[in-house]
């Protein structure tokens, strides 16, 4: 079995094991969840380091023909585009299980749903058949809605849960419509990207179809990422979601939409790319500037994080809109970095919420003094969030600035302003109000995370710094895939993908 299939299977096995554990052994629920998510994280690590950089082909491929009548294939594999995302999904999943010890209501259900989200996310990133990509994403999304509904907090819970469900469902539907059109119009009788892309090279879609399908995918998947102006679900949803759900959704599930655009829309629909990147370039300004300005006005830490994560997505969209190897490489670096950062931010805000009972900025203060570890981790996360070097976000953002300059110079000016100034203003304001100052009454009785309780935060912070200091390990893996995507997206005709070799042999076809 491909290690990738094994990786996807782990969380589902974990969920099954928990379901089968009766209530009298309830202590084992959390342990099982920790075990399986930990194994998934380790498997993700081993896949990342076993991956041979410099090759554009798919590695560790697994393939089973599911239903040849409608061309359904279970087909998984890793390339530069998803190897980093699989790694961080494992890490964020483990951290999310780690911070969930406070769950008292229906813990069994909670951990089962959590593992379903992790498994669904892993499945969507690993799938090379777009039907499975979509299907796994649904497996992850439905538990997200349930968790917000059942374990959510705050007065706005129902409204926020409603809004996030509405938006993400509509987004998913539009994306599904796009995929169905792709399936129906291509005539290839498959949604396997490898086969489909070979087919489309021989039988290119008419320009009008490409424009239609790309538009559906862009707005469908874009909504699931929070592309302006379809973004307002995100901050509210994260504000009310339980900590682990917010970590997984903001960190991981949001990246599925971006990933699908890069996996399907860009390489398969070059005419669509040419037609739509202008629109994407305009909309990404909404994320970069508008969402940043909205973040400046937030009075609640989670709403601030939610809006700032939308602003970070603006950098990814800018990289995509540049359709350049440098820009798209940078965009993927940000996707990986932001997965860690967003999860870390929500993990820390969850800790603060548990200690203080509020996330209102004006009521917090003095976290550095009262909670040295959590306070320091929070300062590190906030600095990473305003693009300080030493964290992986900087490496991605600065790469996007370079990559986008030739195509979109004015957007780069806006992105630099958004990242350096607007990001700086709201992140430093948050440090000033939460970490600095005298210890506030709501934190006066709080205790710091100690010992093994620090692990979930370190699991996220350490790789964030590692990839920030040495992004080359990440970039060397992404680069060949970015070259392949850009070569096809700008070809006017979809080109053949790298031939997939049977595992474990490494397929070596690339733009070199």
């Amino acid at each position: 079995m491909s290690p990738v299939s094994f990786l996807i299977l782990l969380p589902f096995l974990g969920a099954l094991a928990i379901l089968l554990t009766p209530a009298k052994h309830s202590f084992a629920w959390r342990g099982t969840a920790l075990l399986f998510s930990g194994l998934a994280a380790l498997t993700g690590l081993s896949i990342f380091f076993d991956f041979v950089p410099g090759s554009a082909g798919f590695q560790m491929v697994g393939r089973v023909d599911w239903n040849s009548a409608i061309g359904l294939t279970y087909h998984v594999g890793v390339d530069g585009l998803n190897v980093g995302l699989l790694l961080v999904t494992g890490l964020v999943g483990f951290a999310a299980v780690g911070v969930s010890s406070e769950i008292e209501k229906q813990p069994k259900m909670f951990y089962v749903l959590l593992l379903l989200i992790i498994g669904g996310a892993l499945g969507s990133f690993a799938s090379l058949d777009l039907f499975f990509l979509y299907f796994f994403n649904e497996i992850a999304l439905v538990p997200t809605f349930l968790m917000i509904g059942i374990w959510g907090r705050g007065e706005q819970k129902n409204y926020a849960a409603f809004q996030i469900t509405l938006y993400l469902s509509l987004g998913a539907l539009v994306a599904l419509a796009g995929l169905i059109c792709l399936y129906a119009m291509s005539g290839a009788n498959t949604l396997d990207v490898v086969v489909l892309s070979a087919w489309l090279k021989e039988h290119p879609l008419p320009a009008a179809s490409q424009t239609l399908i790309f538009g559906l995918l862009l707005f469908g998947f874009g909504t699931m990422v929070g592309l302006f102006p379809f973004h307002s679900w995100a901050p509210l949803g994260y504000g009310v979601a339980p900590t682990a759900t917010a970590m997984l959704h903001a960190g991981i599930l949001k990246k599925v939409g971006l990933y699908a655009l890069l996996r399907a829309a860009y390489p398969l629909l070059p005419v669509g790319v040419a037609q739509w990147t202008g629109v994407l370039a305009v909309l990404c300004l909404g994320n970069l500037l508008y969402c940043g300005w909205v973040a400046m006005r937030q009075k609640d830490l989670n709403l601030l994080f939610g809006n700032s994560s939308l602003a970070h997505m603006g950098f990814v969209f800018l990289g995509l809109a540049s359709v350049s190897v440098i820009g798209i490489t940078g965009a993927v670096v940000i996707m990986v970095a932001h997965a860690l950062l967003a999860a870390l931010e929500f993990a820390l805000s969850g800790y603060l919420y548990r200690q203080a009972g509020t996330l209102e900025l004006s009521k917090l203060g003095g976290a550095m003094r009262q909670l040295p570890f959590v306070g320091a981790a929070l300062v590190a996360a906030l600095l990473a969030g305003c693009g300080v070097p030493g964290f992986a976000n900087f490496a991605g953002e600065v790469t996007v600035l370079f990559g986008a300059w030739k195509a979109l110079p004015w957007h780069v000016v806006a992105a630099a302003w958004g990242g350096l100034i607007i990001g700086g203003v709201y992140m430093l304001r948050a440090i000033r109000q939460v970490a600095h100052g005298e210890v506030s009454p709501v934190l006066a009785q709080s205790t710091d995370a100690g010992g093994v309780n620090r692990a979930p935060y370190l699991v996220l912070l350490v790789p964030l710094i590692y990839f920030g200091v040495a992004p080359t390990g990440l970039v060397d893996r992404i680069k060949p895939s970015a070259e392949r995507i850009v070569a096809r997206a700008t070809s006017g005709l979809p080109a053949t993908p790298a031939p997939t070799a049977a595992e474990p042999a490494v397929a070596t076809a690339s733009a070199h």
């Binding site: 129902n158 909205v294 790469t399 630099a416 440090i431």
Partner: protein, 651 residues
């Protein structure tokens, strides 16, 4: 175009790789303090101090080994490489960087020693030394960098670590606010800096200094009509770090940090980084004016011309404001601004050698003055207002003598101070470049400098004590006075070394440099070299000192507010820069944010979302709660979609 990694000048010895040790040792120190040594004060001390002192001696060795040659590169590490964009972490070991290395590690060593006493009673002693080590690491990264992106990386890290140091006492609102203000003001400069870097890269395909110099040498027009814009944008970065008007407002506020921090980062290192960076990329700035069409109205100005004027204006405004400040550290902060203005002006007058010369001497005497101020503040039981001091000459003799030497050096007293020689080099550069207005401003500022420094010295050290604290002032312990004493020597003697000529030869190899050969010639070199500047400068010192004595000799309070109330008020309120920013620019940006927030709250969420929800409600009957209708509807859509796939497949 060749995008391969750094052209490594390979020598047989690789002694230049010692530069990595100098760079990384403070980082190792900071990390080991954070993760263990903090439990012991002695270990923290020893580790922090030995890291920088070792760095200083290695820097001297590197200077002696490589400072006189063309410069070499240490082995580089890959950082990020994509076709078309190659960034590595490399170290450039040449005369400019090794000179700066000595300045940074030297001052940093003394500040570390001083801090072991000054911060002795602070509960967060280990955090202080860890942050100081991190800061030193970041600063050395700028100094040694061999490419623009690496410079930017460490540039930002200097910003962050100074944020940690200025906000060291983060429970104090003023300190936390000052740290934030410093960081954000710097960020405005960095915004320009990164755009400048991207523009240079887009035109040349490289960010490495050596390759850029080669490309510009081969084709001086390689930057096309972006040349001046790129230069000014890069300069914007320097305006932030080196606190030039109008981005200067953070520096006086940053005095809320511990005083040794001010000596290190607000005198010798961080604020000097802008000047140093401009000297490093001087070849990029020294290009004829060429602007894009949209900015053609700027075509009379070259990048250097703009730089020179910003520097000149900063030196003048800061010199004026310093006259009416009462806090000893703020007077020094404004004098730093004024001297940084001199250095920037020198760069703009095509005198990077003069700028670096003044940077070096200024680092010594300004660090001396700040550490002296720290000694005074501790001696007077944390009193910082000079009008509550007085008579300290008798009570703190070592501090007073050292402070007097620093003051003389800052004023540029001829022959016996280092400041005389470096300041004169700046006047000479302005004259040689034909910028007579700026030369006049420079001379005028020399008079202002003497006026405010003599005021400070007369009021704080002479006369009689004006408060209880001053009455009971006491001399500081040796760990504080020793660094002062050590710094007094270069403050006097550094100008006698041929640093000016050495740097001139480095920047302009084609110009013949005359090194003075007799003692008299050495001592009176400025009077030969640029007599006009030396004589006028001397005149202004005498005039400034005379004015200060007339006004402040045993004065009980400042006479200026009574004599010229309007001017005095404007100056003591710092010419209203902060008020204007707080009344205009910050509210403007906030208003945009408020508008966006309002739009998001009421239009996007209120109208569109609720409207859509109403529509869907009609359509799907029950979308009230997640657990009920909505999920069912959703499941319905999902199944319908799948059914559609199957249907299409069967057709």
């Amino acid at each position: 175009m060749d995008h391969s990694a750094a052209p490594l000048a390979v020598t047989s010895s690789h002694a230049q790789d010692l530069a990595w040790v100098v760079l990384l040792f403070p980082l190792v120190s900071a990390l080991s303090i954070t993760f263990g040594l903090r439990r012991s004060r002695t270990l923290t001390n020893t580790m922090a101090l030995s890291a920088v002192v070792t760095g200083f001696f290695l820097s001297v060795a590197l200077f002696l080994g490589f400072g006189f040659g063309p410069g070499v590169n240490a082995d580089a590490l890959p950082w990020l490489s994509i076709p078309g964009l190659n960034i590595h972490l490399g170290l450039k070991v040449d005369s400019l960087s090794t000179l700066m290395l000595m300045v940074v590690t030297g001052i940093s060593s003394l500040v570390h020693l001083y801090s072991t006493q000054y911060m002795d009673e602070d509960q967060d002693y280990p955090r202080y030394f860890a942050a100081l080590g991190l800061f030193t690491f970041a600063m050395l990264g700028i100094v040694l960098s061999d490419n623009l992106v690496q410079t930017f990386i460490f540039w930002e890290l200097v910003g962050v670590t100074s944020y940690l140091l200025v906000g060291f006492w983060y429970e104090k609102p003023a300190a936390a606010d000052a740290a934030k203000k410093a960081f954000l003001t710097n960020r405005i400069g960095d915004f320009g800096f990164i755009l400048g870097i991207v523009i240079v890269w887009a035109a040349t395909g490289t960010v490495q200094f050596d390759e850029l110099a080669q490309k510009l040498h081969a084709d001086p027009k390689v930057l096309g009509n972006m040349a001046s814009l790129a230069g000014v944008l890069i300069f914007l970065g320097a305006m932030g770090k080196s606190a030039q008007v109008p981005l200067h407002v953070w520096l006086p506020d940053a005095m809320e940090g511990p005083t040794p921090v001010s000596a290190l980062i607000h005198a010798a290192t961080m604020v000097a980084a802008g000047v140093y960076m401009l000297c490093r990329v001087f070849f990029l700035l020294d290009l004829p004016a060429a602007w894009p069409d949209a900015l053609s109205f700027l075509s009379p100005f070259s990048a250097l011309g703009i730089i020179a004027w910003v520097g000149g204006i900063t030196s003048l405004l800061a010199g004026l404001i310093a006259i009416q400040q009462d806090d000893i550290k703020r007077i020094l902060a404004y004098s730093t601004l004024s001297q940084l203005g001199y250095m920037i002006m020198a760069v703009g007058c095509a005198g990077p050698d003069a700028a670096m010369f003044h940077l070096t001497t200024h680092a010594c005497f300004k660090a001396l003055l700040f550490l002296g101020a720290g000694s005074v503040i501790v001696g007077c039981h944390h009193e910082q207002n000079i009008w509550k001091m007085g008579g300290l000459w008798k009570r703190m003799p070592t501090t007073a003598i050292c402070f007097a030497i620093g003051t003389a050096a800052l004023c540029g007293v001829p022959v016996v101070t280092a400041g005389f020689y470096s300041k004169d080099a700046i006047f000479a550069a302005a004259l040689a470049d034909g910028r007579h207005m700026l030369f006049g401003i420079g001379i005028l500022v020399a008079g202002l400098t003497t006026l405010y420094m003599a005021r400070l010295f007369l009021v704080a050290f002479l006369g009689t004590p004006r408060s209880e604290q001053a009455e009971h002032a006491h001399e500081s312990p040796w760990r504080m006075t020793l660094p002062l004493t050590i710094l007094a020597f270069p403050s006097v003697a550094l100008g006698w070394l041929p640093i000016g000529g050495f740097l001139k030869h480095r920047f302009f190899p084609e110009v013949a440099v005359h090194y003075p050969d007799s003692l008299t010639e050495i001592l009176f070199e400025p009077f030969n070299h640029s007599p006009l500047g030396a004589v006028l400068g001397l005149g202004m010192i005498i005039f400034g000192a005379f004015a200060a004595v007339m006004l402040y000799w045993s004065a009980a309070q400042d006479p200026l507010p009574d004599r010229v109330p309007g001017i005095s008020r404007a100056l003591s309120r710092r010419l209203y820069f902060d008020q204007v920013y707080e009344a205009v620019f910050i509210p403007l940006h906030d208003a945009v944010a408020a508008l966006a927030d309002w739009f998001d709250r009421w239009i996007v969420q209120g109208f569109i979302v609720r409207g859509a929800s109403g529509g869907v409600e009609l359509f799907g009957r029950g979308l009230r709660l997640v657990q009920t209708g909505n999920l069912q509807t959703y499941a319905f859509f999902f199944v319908a979609g799948v059914a559609l796939v199957v249907l299409l497949a069967l057709n």
